[in-house]
Symmetry: C2
Subunit: 590 residues, 2 copies
């Protein structure tokens, strides 16, 4: 099928991707006869490495024994209902656009009808059934296309759903049951060009369908970087980043998406929303473009944005520091956050994640093995770190040589105050790039009945320990309540530092073999844990967004008058609800 | 009059202020019999100094001779029309509030009916007549007051105008001619308390009527600072900063107002607009509180905000660098902006302003005089800087010792690349604090028929020289066109650095002796110059805001759909236009 296979000038051809689930077809975790695990392919640092400690670690962590000979099998035959075609709309569409611009193909409809990261959706698409599919997919190639399509949708009362990379973590792409109109997924991936680069003022105009990898590849080739690195950056798009208010791992240097973007162009039912100039900091009254950050597909098609770019940094270094426990690691972070020497990225993983990273270390031989053993000896025997308590901060430094040197000196000095042990660049790099393996591990584990979920929050510094502890306690309670086998797995990391707060990112895993309706139960647990987070002072989300799965918490987040204001904004921009995906406060399903 | 004289727990009693114009009653520029000038009082570093070079400098700059014996005299007897009282409203007001909560006093009405900084308004209040006055002043003491007042205004169809420090630079306080309802100025200055300080998470909840000086005095006393220092900080308020989207001189370290504020509470006709938690960076969908930044009094009463606070810096240093010309100074700034070592504040003044600062140097004797002469000798004779071309960067460094040392090293290194000459901390401090004398100088000059105006813009780096040159050329043309006597005065400084842009702040002066309608003509010139700025790539405003005087440029700033969106936001929050000050796109007067 030519439409899916090509992505016209993109870096990754679509044929290399699964699309109905996360990632590349050639990359997965595979159990060897000797119970070691190998990540296939050659795309990631971990690819091809023999991981002999992973399976024992998983079994120990979950208190179970995996039946590796009986993996859960994906549904192969999917019963897909025929599309509901608004025939007037379809006829006019066929007159106005060439036939490569849209598709009624079942597989295309399926991959555009859900996100690839929410447990609930992934589980459904792999093992049961997505209830509602889009009726066709439109491949938008220009702002002109967008305008015509919206006019057509308005004329014929058709629902449009913007689709970027499909990596949603909030069920934002889940289609409303109540939608009786024809639903068109508007795939933006063909709008993947840099329109211009302004070298002197360090900005670029980028089409919204460009993925992070595409953007960085093209910018790097001419000496620049955007520096925005969400965990999903291989597949997620600029338009998606804006509509979810995304955060990148290196935000300390490059900013979160709202600091990166200087102008957004959105084609909406009420016209083109944009500033006529790209403006950095201004005072022009209320800035309407702020309503596009976090708009989650509710308002229109984001087609392009002017973003800040940076000269490639002279120096890029990874670094890591090991601490005897989470509390001291956290104190280090807080001191560093207010030091004026914050590196591009710094993350603190808890002990569970620290040990998981150790379990993911490939088998090493020779000199490396000796060094590894020596470092371990020093930490455990000389410094007497408790292996069941120690944690690690992984750090990325980018910038000029003097800048990086200054930051490193500060890190060393502060680490010293909290018994931190410099663990070198290799551990730092491993910690950082592991991020890109997480989704594959999740999908691997799900074949053995382990369901994983991630969720994140912004928490004031003083509440970090309380929130983590409360989530842990509540999870144990829920696990017992539902009578799941084995032990629940919880780990967390602090991924972003702010002046008053941090982002905590939780990873949850539950072994569900023999359990009825495991996906529904785990969604319920995630909901309870979210409530726990909010009750203990955390926000409803730091960067994943609201979508469908967190919409019930909006009444605890905004005042009634603020919520009413959002309804009026929607009413103003899209009075006929053409963009009917119903995320956030517009969600009307439980 | 007790209402005006006390400000209940404020740092500056109102009786010390003029209020109908800028600043303190005890502070003004006074010509001595020997033609030297003295700044009276003891509030500022310049106070009490004998300035013997200022008058000659002014006369040379404007190509005129001042008739110092015939100052233009302020209007003393003002014909003030009686208030237009909505009697039902006034009766109910009197029942609900004690009589110290409102005033119909003429002077109170006058000082609440205009801003203190726009030439047009200042000139009118000093030398002719403000057309429309508010009918009464309400002194808001609590959110409860605000709620009751808004309900009352809605019931009786009365117009409310929020009033903070009165320092508006955009005619935002100018009352609409078309307003036939009773107008109530809502003075917020009694809401001037810090409600709480959260030391652990470095934030504070501050009432919106607190001025910058009040806030810093109280925070400093307990070891903290907010760090927001707009030029108006002595008199402007937190609520005013939010509603104009203010920028502070030290924004590189502390952020502009939108980065300082984490939550805003606004009492509006549709209810209380706020986030239920104070949230740092989050992804909660569209964040409605963004519409309050730059709302310019159009939406409701901002009553309080949660702001970031910082421990007082260990080190505070002033610094300055002199460059042979503006171009090299600008290159220095650009390099510094991208160095990762940007100090809290850095400003580059052009040659005109550099010479003006020299003219403001007090007479010095003894050793200081020798050092002064030696420095001058080195710059002019050894380094051969052209006194009619050289410029200066004034710098404020704040932070930890290592941080400041790192920034200073970077500044020195970069300055060296562009022939910068380190001019020491005294010049840096002088440059920084001169800011607080500017409004007094303007009011002094206006008594000798020199009308001054300031205006500012955000400009991409590449357009800085072009914008400055275009403004200069256009000003010369306008000056000729109107046949003003003498020469026009123009100077500019770069006051803020951003990744892609800078803020340029222009100061304009025109000698108007013998000219008919000088204020109207200068307003027309400012308008033309603003047009020139926009045509050459600048924004309509960096931090002054739109108010009335820049509202005509909004069609060149936002797309029609964006403007319509703002109308809908207003309609949603304030359907009966209770907050009828009509700033920005709501202005309906030419």
């Amino acid at each position: 099928m030519t439409i899916a296979d090509s992505d016209r000038d993109g870096i990754t051809p679509n044929a290399a991707l699964w699309r109905h689930k996360w990632g590349f077809k050639d990359t997965f975790f595979k159990i060897q006869p000797d119970r070691s695990i190998v990540m296939t392919g050659d795309r990631y640092p971990l690819s091809g490495c023999k991981l002999d400690k992973l399976l024992p670690h998983i079994e120990e962590s979950f208190g179970i024994q995996l039946d590796i000979h009986r993996p859960k099998l994906e549904v192969t035959e999917r019963a897909i209902a025929p599309p509901h075609k608004n025939s007037d709309f379809c006829n006019e569409l066929a007159q106005l656009f060439p036939c490569d611009r849209y598709s009624f193909d079942d597989e295309e409809r399926l991959v555009h009808s859900h996100g690839q990261t929410t447990t609930e959706e992934v589980y459904k698409v792999l093992y049961s059934q997505i209830e509602r599919l889009v009726d066709l997919v439109f491949y938008c190639e220009s702002e002109g296309d967008a305008q015509i399509l919206i006019a057509l949708a308005t004329k014929h009362q058709v629902c449009l759903v913007p689709f970027g990379g499909g990596t949603s973590v909030s069920a934002a792409l889940k289609l409303p049951h109540s939608e009786s109109r024809t639903i068109v997924a508007v795939n933006m991936q063909r709008m993947n060009q840099i329109e211009w680069i302004d070298r002197e003022n360090l900005r670029a105009c980028v089409q919204a369908g460009m993925t992070g990898t595409q953007l960085e590849t093209k910018l790097n080739a001419v000496g620049f970087t955007c520096g925005h690195e969400p965990d999903s950056m291989e597949f997620s798009t600029l338009g998606g980043w804006i509509s979810t208010n995304a955060s990148g791992m290196k935000k300390n240097r490059y900013g979160n998406i709202e600091q990166i973007v200087e102008n957004i162009t959105t084609i909406s039912p009420s016209g083109t929303l944009e500033q006529l100039q790209s403006l950095a900091r201004v005072s022009i009254g209320i800035q309407p473009q702020h309503v596009l950050f976090g708009s989650e597909g509710n308002l229109g098609l984001i087609t392009k944005a002017v973003i800040k770019i940076h000269a490639l940094p002279d120096v890029k270094e990874y670094y890591s520091v090991v601490f005897p426990d989470f509390d001291r690691g956290l104190q280090f972070l807080k001191k560093l956050a207010h030091s004026g020497a914050v590196p591009a990225s710094v993350r603190l993983v808890d002990n569970a994640q620290f040990r998981f990273a150790q379990a993911l270390k490939p088998q090493v031989f020779g000199f490396s093995a000796i060094v590894d053993r020596l470092s371990k000896f020093y930490a455990l025997k000389i410094r007497r770190f408790d292996p069941l308590a120690m944690v690690a901060a992984t750090i990325v430094l980018e910038g000029f040589a003097e800048e990086v040197a200054f930051q490193k000196a500060a890190i060393r000095k502060i680490a010293n105050c909290y018994q931190g042990l410099i663990a070198g660049s290799k551990n730092g790099q491993r910690g950082y790039v592991l991020t890109f393996a997480i989704a594959y591990i999740r999908d691997f584990l799900s074949t053995f009945h382990i369901i994983g979920e991630t969720f994140e929050t912004t928490v004031p510094w003083s509440q970090v320990q309380q929130v983590c502890q409360a989530v842990k306690t509540q999870l144990d309670r829920e696990h017992k309540h539902y009578n799941f086998p084995g032990k629940p797995y919880l780990s967390y990391r602090v991924t972003q530092l702010y002046h008053t707060s941090v982002c905590i990112y939780f990873t949850l895993g539950i072994y569900t073999n023999g359990v009825v309706d495991p996906d529904r139960k785990i969604a319920a647990i995630e909901h309870v844990l979210r409530q726990t987070i909010i009750e203990n002072g955390g926000s409803v989300s730091h960067h994943h967004g609201i979508g469908k799965i967190r919409s019930q918490f909006m009444n605890e987040t905004l005042s009634p008058a603020n919520i009413e204001l959002l309804r009026q904004v929607k009413q103003s921009i899209d009075p006929h609800n053409i963009f009917g995906i119903k995320n956030n406060i517009f969600n009307d399903q439980p």
